[in-house]
Amino acid sequence: MYDYYLGGSHNFAVDRATARAMVAAVPQAPLMAQANRAFLRRAVQFLTDAGIRQFLDIGSGIPTVGNVHEIAQLHAPDSRVVYVDVDPVAVAHSREILAGNDRTAVIQEDLRQPDRILAHPDVRAMLDFSQPMAVLVVAVLHFVSDDDRPAEVLRTLRAALAPGSYLVLSQASDDGRDEAERAEAEEVYRRTDSPLWVRSRAELTGFFDGFELVEPGVVWVPQWRPETPESAEDAERAVFLGGVGRLGG
């Protein structure tokens, strides 16, 4: 349904039905998705400008438009990207889209098992862990419950990175949300297979432990390095908080 919000047609009737129910409860849902995707685009652009040429995109989704390799390779054609998703359909679709692009790889793994991701032969073949890279966990963490220890997952990933690497995070947050809206949105998600774990700004900031947050820190995604001042208006309507951290050293 994320793809549906973005205006794509890579979706099924059930997704569309859920998406429409969600829009009824939270009218700005499509805007959320679009704002998040735009944040992803600006973040990748920032990273390529900062010299990053390797990307590990975990929870990459169904590639619609504006995929990480498209953005990165447009500016730096030698950029390499590994896409990771648990959803077999997303993985199969990514494979199809990426066939012939030998600077990308797709694997089916679970963010909650970072060791498996890090040890995966395709990951090892595509990415050089002695060099800086960017790990993207964008619009995924809210699918990971506290029981699955997201902080530990991120720590494991961090431990594998070379100094100068980056972490990009975004996830749904209820900072400043009104109670009725929150309840209604959660209700909709509960009816789907993917319950939503919204988190506060402080929690999200905590996930950057060990990284130095780049300006402007953890903010509503439209506020993260906006292209125009207007585009950052009413930013909390985007529901997603996001940020980028750099591993010092």
């Binding site: 205006g7 047609s9 890579h10 979706n11 679009q34 735009a38 169904i62 619609t64 199969a92």
Partner: protein, 580 residues
């Protein structure tokens, strides 16, 4: 979209308005500046078309295509595009002509048509691609499931250590091979193989190396007996199924191939591990046999190969198996026979060679088997000794002998003593002295009327216990005899330290006395007797069959005789008749 050209890109007022109108209608994979630039280019195309003669409607299609290609893909985007062009394009770009309304309407129509067509195509493409992905994912999931099912089936049917088929799979294949629907002439064979003393490999090299040697042995076996099925039954036991055998030779060949394959040492971790194996071979017609029969027969045959020293094969022998099975059944029936009172005692006279008087009798156990009739001890004592039932049986004999003997009274002097055989296991049992003592107390039999016969081998032990027990019994006044003397080590020296009162010389020596030429035997016997007397022991000769033998024995100085010449084993009544 593309990159901004060098120099300040600048979108006109119309393009900026257009960009504002479509922003947010769907996700746009570009910056706002890039969007304005794109729309500026499309604005230029539209303006040019409106000015040109004739009006080229394909420009409308092209503009629409580009919008959709840039992912400006929503109904709202189209609506707003039509609206903003209609409202502002002519005005903002100052496009004045007589037929501008007419041209505008046709161009907008072309944009809308082109847009609807492009969006439909894009939608269909995306739907198709996501469906294909879903299909691929499902196929992959099914393949993974099938693979895991296959793995699961394999695991259920194979031994995890060696990856050989396991007992379950073997049982299935054997059952199928013996299936009744098989042709009547079909034959089948089994090689039941067990590594000899494999525990020693584990003990000396450790289990890890033991396991690896086992894996190596399994691999060799598999290769050696191909294409026959070889399964690991557990531990170090394997079995080879030879289907459609044409005769014993086929299966023997398989067994020999297996043994040959195992004869080379296995090198594990730098250790030379040598294993040998024993194989039990069964080969027979399928008709009339069953998997259980075959397995049982193969198991017995393996046992024969093992007891023949290992490192070889043995072939099933129905007659031998029948005998062993009968023995087995007999031995299993002993406890019930005891309970039902099927055992009874006969007694054989032990007669004085000096005056012909009856000194004692030896109790001999018989079994009145309900099916086999009266059995003599050689038919079942050996079995009872193997299984340990001898303790129970021997205990009964001892008690019964004492019970009967106490009733024998003699008109002339001392009534005969009763002599009872004690098996090794009985002597080694801790409670023996206590048992005999309470038995004597219970029956009232005077200790000097009881003689216990033990074999030489009973005493050939390093352990002190049996000697101490015998001494305690002798101290009670019980007579202790060494039975079958001369058949074992016949070590007279050790007799000196034992509380023995009598030697019973084995019948072999006596038989020699039949012929006058057998001087050697007679001399051996004579020196034995004089040695025994020197040690203060009496000597009874067993197996005395003739008067001549009795005469010689008396001449040698032998004290007593036992054998047909003096009387066969008989019921207690006969004995009673003799003492009256």
């Amino acid at each position: 979209m593309g990159e901004p050209p060098d120099g300040q890109p600048c979108a006109g007022v119309f393009a900026r308005a257009w960009a504002k109108a479509v922003a947010g209608t769907s996700y746009l994979p570009m910056t706002h500046a890039q969007l304005e630039l794109l729309l500026q280019r499309l604005t230029d195309l539209l303006a040019e078309a409106l000015r040109a003669e004739p009006l080229d409607l394909r420009v409308g299609h092209k503009v629409a295509d580009e919008l959709v290609a840039a992912h400006i893909v929503s109904a709202e985007a189209l609506g707003r595009t039509v609206e903003v062009i209609q409202l502002r394009l002519v005005r903002d770009l100052d496009l004045v002509s007589d037929d501008i309304e007419d041209r505008m309407a046709r161009l907008l129509g072309a944009v809308a048509t082109g847009y609807a067509r492009a969006l439909r195509d894009r939608t269909l493409d995306e739907q198709e691609s996501i469906r294909r992905a879903a299909m691929t994912a499902r196929v992959e999931a099914e393949q993974a499931l099938r693979a895991s099912e296959a793995r699961f089936r394999h695991q259920a049917n194979h031994d995890p250590l060696t990856d050989l088929p396991n007992r379950t799979l073997f049982a299935e294949r054997l059952a199928a091979a013996v299936d009744g629907s098989a042709g009547s002439g079909r034959r089948v064979g089994l090689c039941f193989l067990d590594l000899d003393r494999f525990k020693r490999v584990n003990d000396s090299f450790g289990h890890q190396i033991g396991d690896r040697a086992l894996v190596a042995a399994a691999q060799r076996l598999r290769r050696a007996v191909e294409p026959h099925l070889v399964a690991r039954l557990g531990g170090d036991a394997f079995v080879v199924l030879v289907e459609r055998s044409t005769g014993t030779g086929d299966v023997v060949a398989v067994a020999e191939a297996a043994l040959a394959a195992l004869s080379e040492p296995v090198v594990v971790d730098g250790h030379d591990v040598t294993v040998t194996a024993s194989v039990g071979i069964v080969e027979r017609r399928v008709a009339g046999t069953s998997p259980d029969d075959l397995m049982r027969a193969a198991g017995s045959t393996l046992h024969w190969a093992k007891s023949a020293g290992g490192a070889g094969w043995a072939l099933y022998d129905a007659e031998r198996d029948g005998r062993e099975q009968a023995r087995q059944e007999l031995s299993a029936a002993i406890p019930a026979g005891l309970e039902r009172g099927e055992f009874f005692l006969d007694y054989q006279p032990l007669t004085s060679l000096h005056d012909g008087s009856l000194l004692g009798v030896e109790a001999l156990v018989r079994w009145r088997h309900p099916r086999l009739g009266v059995l003599r001890p050689d038919k079942f004592i050996g079995l009872a000794e193997e299984t340990g039932l001898i303790v129970q049986l021997g205990g009964w004999v001892l008690a019964e002998a004492c019970r009967e003997a106490v009733g024998w009274t003699s008109t002339s002097g001392q009534p005969p003593y009763v002599s009872v055989n004690l098996a090794v296991r009985q002597v080694r049992r801790p409670g023996l002295v206590q048992e005999v003592r309470s038995l004597l107390r219970r029956t009232g039999l005077p200790p000097n009327r009881l003689q216990l016969e033990i074999t030489e081998s009973t005493m050939m032990t390093t352990s002190e216990e049996p000697v101490r027990a015998l001494r305690a019994l002798a101290d009670l006044g019980i007579r202790i005899a060494i039975d079958d003397f001369g058949t074992g080590y016949s070590n007279l020296a050790y007799l000196r330290d034992l509380p023995v009162t009598e030697l019973k010389v084995a019948g072999e020596f006596v038989r020699g006395l039949r012929t006058p030429e057998a001087l050697a035997d007679e001399r051996i016997l004579a020196s034995l007797v004089s040695l025994a007397h020197a040690l203060d022991l009496t000597v009874t000769a067993e197996g005395v069959e003739t008067g001549g033998q009795a005469e010689r024995l008396r001449a040698i100085g032998c004290d007593a005789g036992q054998g047909w010449h003096f009387g066969r084993p008989a019921s207690p009544d006969h004995i009673l008749a003799r003492i009256r």
